[in-house]
Amino acid sequence: MAKDEIAKEFKYIGTRPNRPDGFDKVTGRAKYGADVSAVGMLHAAVLRSPHAHARIKYINFEKAAKLSGVKAIVTRDDFPIVKDEDTLKLLENTIAGDFAYYDGHAIAAVAATSVFAAKEAIKEIEVDYEVLPHVIDVDEAIQPDAPVVRENAGDFSVPEGSSPNVASYIEFGRGDISGGFDKADLVKSGRFKTEAAHQGYIEPHACMAQLDHDGQGEMWVCTQGHWYIRQMCAAVLGLESSKLCVTPSEIGGGFGGKTTIFIEPLALALSKKTGGRPVKIVMSRAEVLRATGPTASASMDVKIGMTKDGYLTSGSVEFRMQGGAFGGSPVGEALQCAFASYNMPAVHHIGYDVLANRPRAAAYRAPGSPMAAFAVESLIDEICTDLNLDPIDVRLKNAVKEGDKSSYGPKFKKIGLIETLKATKDHPNYSVSLGVNQGRGVAAGYWMNHGGETSVSVSLAEDGSVNVTVGTPDIGGSRASIALMTAETYGIPYDSVSVNIAETGALGFNEPTHGSRATLASGKAVYEAANQTISEMCRRVARKWQIDPDAVYWEKGYAKPAGPNAGDFSPISMKQIASEMDKTGGPIAGHHEASISGVGHSFGVHIADVEVDPETGRVTVLRYLVVQDAGRAIHPSYVEGQFQGGAVQGIGWALNEEYVYGADGCLQNAAFLDYRIPVASDLPNIDTIIVEVPNPDHPFGVRGVGETGIAPPLPALANAVTAATKVRLRSLPMSPAKVLKAIKTGSDGC
């Protein structure tokens, strides 16, 4: 197979073998963040701000330090002075300096001989707070006279006269916006709001760290990306990166939330203060919800024009998103996704990244895309209803295709939105008849996907089996998909490939398992590394046969002479080549390091059927369909799993999940009982169709499948609830109380 050609016939890719780590994970043997201990280990607890916004006047820990079992206490004073702005934000969020910026902001940490001793000690730390005015809601925070979250937080992009809480401003677009609206037969606009949702991984953050006075340290941590952890910890602690060895545990879910630091530098700082004893920190669920990154909350204005035969003529959006006290909401990504599915003559985008007294937003599966989809796809649905047009037909008329310039600039290569829409329309779910109080909603979603910095190695064992070493933690079956691609490249059985996730010293820098990149990027790199070893094996066989290396080619696990002119030789198996490595030149290994490009843009279309109880406002999801272009499904079961998991996270965001704040600015629902993620009895089966329009820039056609699925559920459910109730729901979550109010008053108040 030529390297620039996408193969179509596969032996292993597209099959559904057992995942290599399955046995460990069903027997309780797999080690997650909190599952390791070390001799002499101390346990740590973190004191957190009980106020949404306060000046920290002084911290007195004399009494706490004297308690039995207490070995070390750290505050901001134990961290170096940092000048770089991004590092300072990371440090500020890790441990408060002069101000506590949100309920749950870390103030101090204690290491002690037991968890109980550490928890008792933090109660004895006295902090004198001067409580300051706070702001939680994004529309309030953007008012010019709003309480100021952080002074001088705005960057160069912020227009004059803006609220001091605007951290940055984005504006882009093309075409004649007002002319486009003039050409439309119907122009509609609306304001849409979404509340912050948490990634809700079941495993709380946990780490065990050790740091000596000479700056050498090691860490065991549950993370999506241990090079990120190393880089960030080194930056906030003033360490040399290479001296910190970070080993990733198995990870109990991340969804973007485990791509940054929270407790990790605290554990290192505490360890250093105890002369290098290992320190373990395990967050409670309440700490996870109060202090780790949820996604942003959003307030969005949208205006769209359409002709009566269903062509979009013009669209404009203004998105305001708060991403906590340090900025960094995904408003830019939200704008990129807003109209990305459609070929529109005129689009205009404005975005504000706004500060509020909330925890620092972290990435959450397709950051920004779900909010954008909610606003835009809801309004398109409204217009389709008013013009009496089929929502899939309208999307087919406007869908982007190969060669189109996207709404945010780049030209699309081969993409599969049209194929995805057609598959959706053909599915039986689209024609099931609905009963009383029932409604159907359709929506599309987009995510650009990501490649990123990647480094892998591949080595042959003496028996011809293969070790693949990657730096992307396996969060949902990527060991299996990487093993399948490796087996395909060599033409050896899947079971002959073992995939290891290496610590930071074993490979070059790897970005986390984020951006739907693990299978795409590590897979592409492993393909290149494996081909290096295939070339080397061919060279060694050529030497043996005393022919030119170009006269040897590789097929299905064997080196073969390339045609009759090369000579008459019996093919030599990979097993035999490996068994003779020691005599033919030593170990055979391949490496590949690159910033992986050539990501495949991903589109999905969902259909939700719901029933709304008119007496309680409760929404029941009756049936649900996810259709998405995977490019190529390497292990279809785990592709379906990504579709289903993303959809259900979106369903939770649409119906149940929200951050609830009191008048004091403190989070009121910091527990799984009150921050209610979907449970098994809330849901129907999640049907899936995998569309495969191969990504031309990946050796196997992979696009990346992890993220897109969370975007369409928000509008699909809103459209379905609206169809059932005849009232447009414009703010999430569509909790029973809100739906009931909408039924009774004709509006949800947004």
Partner: protein, 159 residues
């Protein structure tokens, strides 16, 4: 606080440990016995990742005190597989990709086994309600429910 000597039986083994009276059974399993297969996802009985069998009852071990284990029979995920092969549920979960990150998996397997031990012919709705106390954030439950239903069918066919 003085520790209390606890004698119990875990997965068929007689076990003794010293428990701080404030420690949960989950703490004792993980920190004293070294059985870290049971997970803490919430510590408040909401997520089910710490599910264990306690004298025949399905419990959240984060809501049981360690000292309550005195004289009891406790089953954890580490005791689920036989010496030679996995429990049919474990096998089916791997085959049908009913786990992604795997963190909730031990608790879900324990809870599902408790269901099938009582009723090997549950409806899909019964499985969904039985497992409503076990949170999974990765899978959307679809493949979990199907794996439990499929295992039940297999158990019925081989019974």
């Amino acid at each position: 606080m003085n520790k209390i000597h606890v004698k119990t039986n875990i997965n068929g083994d007689r076990v003794e440990f010293l428990a701080d009276p404030r420690e949960t059974l989950l703490d004792c399993l993980r920190d004293h016995i070294g059985l870290t297969g049971s997970k803490e996802g919430c510590g408040t009985g909401d997520c089910g990742a710490c599910s264990c069998i306690f004298d025949g009852d399905l419990v959240s071990s984060c809501l049981v005190l360690g000292v309550e284990a005195e004289g009891k029979l406790i089953e954890t995920i580490e005791g689920m597989a036989g010496e030679d092969n996995l429990h049919p549920l474990q096998k089916k979960f791997i085959e049908m990709a009913a786990l992604q990150c795997g963190f909730c998996t031990p608790g879900i397997l324990i809870a599902a086994k408790a269901l099938l031990d009582r009723n090997n012919n549950p409806t899909e709705n019964e499985v969904r309600y039985w497992l409503a106390g076990n949170l999974c954030r990765c899978t959307g439950y679809d493949k979990i429910i199907k794996a439990v239903m499929e295992t039940a069918k297999e158990i019925r066919e081989t019974a």
